[in-house]
């Protein structure tokens, strides 16, 4: 079952939603997960794709399609949906990462290079050496590579690969592992976290930027209205993609909230796990260290 990571596209929007709308689905998923464990040979393993339930083997392909379709207008849509705030989130993310030269950084699900270029800028690293961008989607990587050559970052490595199985990367290779708006699209989040743990050096830092749950209930209502009513329309108008953006907002609601996700990171073996909410919890930065 191929699972894929997908970069989230536009997905960055504001965010979090009414959890009650999908709560029953969560329960369903969890019981499905338990079944999966007890009988792994069972063929019909199911997972969620937005609010739909699909076979695990199909999710990766579906996510791939979504991102292939939106790759060209990905950055434009990000700006439109988040009113440009996604740039601030990414800046803060890189600031919290606080990399320093020389170090090796793996940016997973980093297709269009947003995070990688920021890291290179932070390091005043003129060619982007030491930074590897990994994405499952070739279309996204192509966009990123093109932008990199325009910006003169010739030293970056571009790698097509699945976050759940980074088999081309040796153990204990990287100082930092970043994944921004990507882990939500991975079929098995726990596997991706284990891979992250594996490729990091001891002491290495795992950093994740992802949509999360808005903490204030009133704001959450407002945010939900915006996500469900306005974003698909914007997707249709700007990128010509209603469904991709429908998937975006639904997948945000399916993703575990701050505390649950922090628990998953801890279970993958990371220590010093902490998280920080940005914009009332629309997105959250999670961070952990391999010991």
């Amino acid at each position: 079952m191929a699972s894929l990571i997908r970069r989230t596209l536009l997905l960055r929007t504001f965010c979090r939603a009414k959890r009650f709308t999908c709560h029953s689905q969560y329960v369903h998923q969890e019981s499905a997960g338990a079944e999966r464990m007890s009988n792994s040979s069972k063929e019909s393993n199911e997972t969620h794709f937005g609010f739909q339930t699909v076979k695990e083997s199909e999710k990766a392909d579906k996510v791939y399609e979504v991102f292939e379709e939106v790759a060209q207008s990905y950055d434009k849509m990000n700006d439109a949906m988040s009113f440009g705030i996604h740039r601030l989130w990414k800046d803060i993310f890189v600031d919290r990462l606080a990399p320093s030269k020389p170090c090796k950084i793996l940016d997973v699900a980093g297709g269009t290079g947003d995070i990688a270029f920021r890291i290179a800028k932070y390091l005043r690293n003129s060619d982007g050496g030491g930074i590897t961008v990994c994405d499952i989607n070739q279309a996204m990587l192509d966009v990123g590579r093109k932008r990199a050559s325009e910006l003169g970052f010739s030293g970056m490595e571009w790698l097509q690969g699945n976050a759940e199985c980074l088999s081309s990367i040796a153990d204990n290779t990287y100082d930092s592992y970043t994944i921004a708006f990507g882990i939500r699209n991975v079929t098995h989040i726990d596997k991706a976290l284990k891979e992250a743990y594996r490729v990091l050096k001891p002491g290495g830092q795992f950093m994740c930027l992802e949509f999360s749950q808005v903490q204030n209930e009133n704001l959450r209502w407002l945010y939900d209205q915006y996500s469900f009513q306005a974003i698909p329309v914007m997707g249709q108008l700007i990128a010509g993609q209603w469904k991709a953006y429908q998937y975006l907002v639904e997948s945000i609601r399916q993703f575990p909230n701050q505390e649950e996700f922090a628990g998953m990171i801890e279970r993958a073996g990371f220590a010093f796990v902490r998280h920080e909410n940005l914009t009332f919890g629309v997105v959250a930065i999670h961070c952990g260290h391999k010991l």
Binding site: R96, L97, S100, K201, G204
Partner: protein, 320 residues
Amino acid sequence: MTHPLSSCFCSCRVNRGGQAENSLFSLFRGSVHLWKIDRMLARYLPLLQCYGNFMGRTTIIARPLLASNFSTNGTTSQDANASAQSEGRREEQVSSSKEDDVKFKIFSAALPLVHQLGWTKECLEAGAESIGFSKSSHGIFEHGGTSFVQFFHRNCNKELRKIAKVEQIESAKSDELTKVHQLLEKRLQMILPYLPQWPQAMALMSRPHSSLDSYKLLYELADDICFFAGDRSLNATWYTKRAAVAGLYITGELSLVQDKSANCDESWQMLARRIEDLRKVEEFGGSCSRQQEILKDIAQSSLTLIRNLTGMQSYQRNSR
């Protein structure tokens, strides 16, 4: 003199039932008596205590009493606990000895490099690399240099507690103020090796976002010093003593970073002079409290005299 509160707290672990009230900073105590806060506390604290027991929250109500007790156990004081909680419930829950070990290892490796690199993220990185960890492990210290300095303070406080426990037995006979002096000096000596970089550390600690944690660390320090100096006060002097010790420590730090004399002699003399000042204040306060009853009588009779002079007492005569 037996403090009225002593009997009220006979069920309390730290109570030294009927123990003579110590006289450090009794000027403060004197003023407290004047304002009758002390008596008010004596009257209402037992009620609060009962309520606290009833609610199962004794530690909060009887905080001045128990806070020092926490420190002796070698664990963090209540405030430090609270700060750990605010840092993130999660972090505390999972914090295992392995995490602490790693953090301490990186800290210890980075500390000798402070002279070249200062209290910075780069110093932590260099330290981590020197013991085989990735550079990125600087992120374990959440706010870089600031967390580095705070960790150093916390560590020094811990050291001081260890030293004080040993000293407590050795110098059982010296008076409270002398012990405060000794402990303060020991604590200030801990920053001596890093004196050239200390202004940077002080600046980091006083930045707005770290000031809350800084105050907690300072409180922890003052609380430890007072406790190990033998302070068992049960009234408002609990607060004034800690404030005075915290003030002395900060004064000492400020003096040290500007001190050009050999071995920082001038700072140590300054500290000794401040302690002497406190001793004088204490003596003065002691005599004040002895005069207090007389003063009260004088004040009352003056008041009566004024009332008589102004004819305000006349209604009493009229009513008869």
